[in-house]
């Protein structure tokens, strides 16, 4: 029986579209990982194996790139990633309170995923919105000037 592909034909086409303008295929490595993640939410070992011939690199070489970066996920993540800024201005402005409240509400700590696969909870360095600290991203949505009492309403927006 043929093994099922984890990188879809659609994703593969998108990756091959990255090569024009570039002197060699390896230069598209990071963007290719982003494409895989867009379709699959994370980058599995199988995905690395399938990427290798497309990029003309070994799976290990691709892994050394994938593991270097903060937001390429080599473990499964939930449908929505909650990135809470834990850098200095947010620390001064009350990050701790938000962290505790989120931990209570999600019933997971940093690095965890809720059992229903709804949220993964991660710390993230400065989100560049320190004048409105504390701040967090849920997926691509930015929330600023956070107060613990706003969290229920924010989280409820995500299925």
């Amino acid at each position: 029986m043929a093994k099922e592909q984890v990188i879809s034909d659609e994703a593969r086409k998108e990756i091959e579209g990255l090569f024009h303008h570039l002197p060699h295929k390896q230069a598209a490595c990071i963007d290719a990982l982003k494409v895989v993640q867009k379709y699959n939410r994370w980058v599995s070992d199988e995905a690395l194996q399938e990427l290798a011939p497309i990029l003309e690199m070994s799976a290990h070489q691709i892994d050394s790139v994938a593991t270097f970066y903060n937001i390429i996920f080599r473990k499964p993540v939930g449908r929505h990633v909650v990135f809470l800024c834990n850098s200095v201005s947010c620390y001064i402005m009350g990050y701790e309170e938000i962290y505790k409240a989120l931990k209570d509400k999600l019933k997971i700590d940093f690095g965890g995923t809720t059992p229903d696969d709804r949220f993964t909870f991660l710390p993230i360095p400065c989100l560049g919105t320190c004048d409105h600290a504390p701040a967090m991203l849920v997926g691509e949505d930015l929330y600023r000037d956070l107060k613990p009492e706003q969290l229920d309403e924010i989280l409820a927006k995500y299925e």
Partner: protein
């Protein structure tokens, strides 16, 4: 007062469209540049005394002059905008790309013309999702209007531009690490020399400048070097600067002001002073990797020279304010945890030294510090001093710590002697 970088931004928070940008004088600088020779453009930027806004303040025109020019120079050259902005406490480039992306694009086109580059990249921090969308819209508009592409505005000059969003790591902001990231590799810094101006992206001559640096260029072309110099209150450089403040001040934010205003004016007038119930204790003048200043330093000018004389660096010009109810050791711990996590792991002093530093600070903060820890920490700041590591990340990480050991020493001692942190977390 003139505020060339921000005065045309819209108060409703949307970006200037191409039409609106043109109506505010946009692309006039490019039009002028294309009638000049590349060398004339470079010399004008030199005369304006524009200095890099990415932290080090290197003279921009001089940086460009290291690029090989003429018949024998490589045909392919690159212009790269550094929009990584992961320095904690920094949020100025976000404002520029979200509210006026055409200004960045125009600045990059002019810079490309000056050095003879035909390809350019905007390297943007991944978390700036809104900025990325707006840059993409602006790039499409600029291509349609013929500001980008082949033979732009009938000048015979070709220039392409692409947006690359990063996948996150502070070290990507270091210019040679950034080039590795753009090439799809791990973002470890490269050896210098060769400098990127000679051998950069894919081994070709490359200029990397900060987003804010490029945003100044169209205005210099449109209005001249003398006008640009007149904007500044600093001997060392021309123009305005995007300053800013975060922490417990009344009006945190970004403010465009003459380069060289005093720290006092920045803190007390523009940031509005401290919030009620909080006193000023210390200031990181230009991001997480700069030495603390104290209330005694308020009368210095916020320019590259005077901040250096006071023992720190102007860095990005966005200050982080430490108040009297936040623990200085807790703040240092937070900073060193960040640097330890973001070390790229290439060289030993940084890879091993930063986690150790963070661990010692954690011990002190938790009441388990030992008297000898203070000496070990000072030893670390020497061990990771400039010149001892492969890049400037680790020396930058030591700046807030070495100054905290000097200015907040009694806090370190009190934590160690009482086995306790007296600051309640808020």
């Amino acid at each position: 007062m003139e505020r060339p970088l921000t005065q045309h931004m819209k108060s409703d928070g949307t970006a200037l469209s191409l039409k609106e940008y043109e109506a505010s004088g946009g692309y006039e600088g490019l039009r002028k540049a294309l009638k000049m020779t590349p060398l004339e453009v470079m010399n004008l930027v030199k005369d304006s005394k524009l200095r890099g806004r990415g932290g080090a303040g290197f003279p921009t025109g001089m940086k460009w002059s290291f690029v090989p020019m003429g018949e024998d120079a490589p045909k392919q050259k690159y212009i790269v905008a550094n929009g990584d902005e992961m320095e904690p406490g920094t949020f100025k480039d976000r404002l520029l790309v979200e509210l006026n992306p055409h200004m960045l694009i125009e600045g990059m086109i002019i810079s490309a013309y000056a050095i003879g580059a035909s390809m350019s990249y905007i390297f943007l921090r991944w978390a700036y999702h809104l900025g990325a969308k707006r840059i993409q819209v602006a790039l499409d508009e600029a291509y349609q209007a013929g500001y980008l592409g082949k033979n732009i505005m009938g000048s015979g000059f070709d220039i392409d531009m692409d947006l690359h969003t990063s996948v996150g790591r502070y070290i990507c902001g270091e210019e040679t690490a950034l080039l590795n990231a753009l090439e799809g590799k791990r973002a470890n810094p490269r050896n210098k020399p060769p400098f990127p101006q000679v051998s950069g992206l894919f081994g070709k001559p490359t200029i990397v400048n900060n987003v804010e640096t490029y945003c100044n260029v169209p205005h210099i072309l449109a209005k001249g070097a003398e006008w640009y110099l007149s904007l500044s209150q600093s001997e060392g450089g021309g123009g305005t600067k995007l300053y800013g403040a975060s922490g417990r001040v009344k009006n945190p934010g970004v403010y465009e002001l003459p380069l060289g205003i005093t720290l006092r004016e920045l803190v007390e007038v523009h940031a509005g002073g401290m919030q009620d119930g909080y006193k000023l204790r210390g200031i990181l003048p230009g991001g997480a990797s700069t030495d603390f200043l104290t209330p005694d330093h308020l009368d210095i000018k916020m320019d590259f020279e005077e901040v250096a004389k006071a023992g720190s660096r102007m860095g990005t010009g966005l200050i982080i304010v430490l108040d009297d109810k936040t623990c200085p050791i807790g703040m240092c711990l937070n900073l060193e945890q960040f640097f330890a996590q973001e070390s790229c792991g290439w060289c030993t002093p940084c890879r091993e030294g930063l986690p150790w530093t963070a661990k010692l600070l954690q011990g002190i903060e938790d009441g388990q510090g030992r008297p000898e820890d203070i000496d070990i920490l000072s030893g670390q700041t020497r061990y990771m001093a400039p010149g001892n590591t492969f890049c400037a990340l680790a020396p930058g990480a030591m700046e807030p710590l070495q100054s905290a050991l000097k200015y907040f020493r009694e806090d370190f001692e009190e934590h160690i002697h009482t086995h306790h942190c007296k600051y309640q977390h808020h």
